[in-house]
């Protein structure tokens, strides 16, 4: 009988898999179990009290949960699309700048270093209705006399959060799309010009397909980490005022820690996790698709 040995790739992957099993997968299994119980931190015994899908059934009929869910999807869709568009624009602008590209690229990294908590505070400060930069500027320019309640009005608060989110993440897209622009071969562009394409056609049919994988890498990286928005929202409005900017993540934190309804919070958390996984899988597949297309054409 030959001695049983692990092949090297399994051995190399083992530490990563073990850590993730211990710190992510096992806790998730536990949290799935507790989402099937009426578990409360104040009554530890309640974790053995199996109630099946009651928490989930309750969530289905919960208006507050669904509005948070809808708001989360809306926020992600609006923010990610705008970030992609603005990042593309920014990258194109920087690419055609003749001088100072290095400096511009360095400045571009700037928002990436800001902790999301910091971004939250910074924009909470700037959008403050009393001492904030935005209102002060508007008033000094004579555009308005009143203190605009940026973080208090429902729609304005949502807008402010989107602005903070976009400020912190647009540069991720810009940086990757810029890297794509730099790596792009020049010949197809010249060929397109010789063939009489307008600038728009050149962009649409030559440049953009080449940039797609780079844009989707940025998308994938962002979607791996969409829940960073929790930090920003937690600081800026904490889901308030009166739950008008509540998203899934703030709702989970409130239900789990403030109301100590862990079972219910875990059921919500599972919905949030599935949502994140859905976003990531979509972008991973698009990334693979656009890669194949590029490989076939070039």
């Amino acid at each position: 009988m030959k001695p049983w040995r692990l092949s090297p790739h399994i051995l190399l992957l083992l530490p990563a898999v073990l850590v993730l099993l211990a710190v992510v997968i096992l806790p998730l299994i536990l949290s799935f179990w507790s989402s099937l119980t009426p578990f409360r931190l104040t009554r530890p015994d309640s974790i053995y009290d199996f109630v099946g899908l009651r928490n989930y059934a309750r969530l289905m009929g919960d208006g507050q949960f669904w509005s948070a869910f809808g708001r989360t999807v809306l926020l992600l869709t609006v923010a990610l699309n705008l970030e992609m568009l603005l990042g593309l624009g920014l990258a194109l602008l920087i690419e055609r700048a003749s001088r100072g590209q290095r400096i511009l690229r360095t400045l571009l990294m700037f928002p990436m270093m800001f902790s999301p908590v910091l971004v939250g505070f910074q924009f909470k400060f700037m959008f403050n209705d009393n001492v904030g930069l935005v209102n002060n500027a508007l008033q000094s320019l004579g555009l308005t006399n009143s203190a605009i309640p940026w973080l208090i009005d429902q729609h304005l608060a949502f807008f402010s959060i989107v602005v903070a989110e976009i400020w912190s993440s647009t540069s991720v897209f810009a940086i990757f799309i810029l890297a794509g622009l730099m790596a792009m071969p020049r010949d197809p562009l010249e060929a397109a010009r010789v063939d009489g394409c307008t600038p728009w056609q050149t962009f649409r049919f030559v440049t953009w397909p080449f940039l797609m994988p780079f844009a989707f890498i940025a998308m994938t990286i962002r979607s791996l980490d969409v829940a960073r928005a929790y930090d920003i929202i937690k600081i800026m409005t904490d889901g308030g005022p009166a739950r008008r900017t509540e998203v899934l993540w703030t709702l989970i934190a409130r239900t789990g820690y403030a109301d100590s309804k862990m079972g219910m919070a875990n059921a919500m958390a599972y919905v949030a996790i599935l949502l994140s996984i859905l976003f990531t899988v979509i972008f991973f597949r698009k990334l693979a698709q656009s890669r194949e297309q590029i490989a076939a054409e070039w």
Binding site: V23, F125, D231, A269
Partner: protein, 288 residues
Amino acid sequence: MDANRSSRIRKRLTRWGLNIALFLAMAIICLPGLWIVLNSLRPTVEIMAKPPVWIPHELNFDAYVAMFSGVGSGGIPVIAYFRNSIIIAVTSTVIALAIGMAGGYAFARYRFRGKSGWFLGLMLTRTVPGIALSLPLFFIYAKLGIIDTHFGLILAYVAMNVPFTVWLIDGFFRQVPRDLAEAAQIDGCTRWQAFWTVEFPLARPGIASAGIFAFLTAWNEFALASQLTRSTNSKTLPVGLLDYTAEFTIDWRGMCALAVVMIVPALALTYAVQKHLVSGLTAGAVKG
């Protein structure tokens, strides 16, 4: 002739328009940070002034002095927070790098069944929102008694960073031609020696930037830290920032000063590796 001139003018106008757009975009990117720095140097009266004071009358370092002078005199235990942040971020980065290097090497150099499935699975563990993961972690950590310890946070951050370091390092190892290590092996190196003497030095800049990325993630993380820390034993800087908020008031000046303290190390590190960061993530973009 006339058509020539008008088209030249139009070209110049669009060029100016685009330059102005670029300038505005860069201003929007930089201004918030500068605003924070400026306000950390201004007295509170000036921050609160109505009508607003645009040109500062006096600048001083009072906020920084107050912050570092300890709990009693209006400061917060910022030195303890800073120490916790450094210990936790550095340790978790080193461990995540070691694990990520092993994993990334496996993905870059070996063929095995279900490789892309494993890769996707590894990445998906990263998508779990911090706040969702904190619920069961909080419970388990409480049972194990490792809430409010460095160990607990380090463990969590290692797990958070492993998927991403694997991705980055995989990209960098794929850029190193396979032939080099094979040549070394033909010359009599073991696989282990070939790795350390040939492949590792070539991939080193990439590994460094993966390290910085992991460091920044741990340095900036809030959702987990806010639930798994309790006191100066393990509170990190992002959680410490909340010390400046009271129920209805916020000490803007102190907060800005702490923000500057948080940002400076991150700034220096990111600047050091900016070149390699992007190339690592996009390494597989076109070649697949």
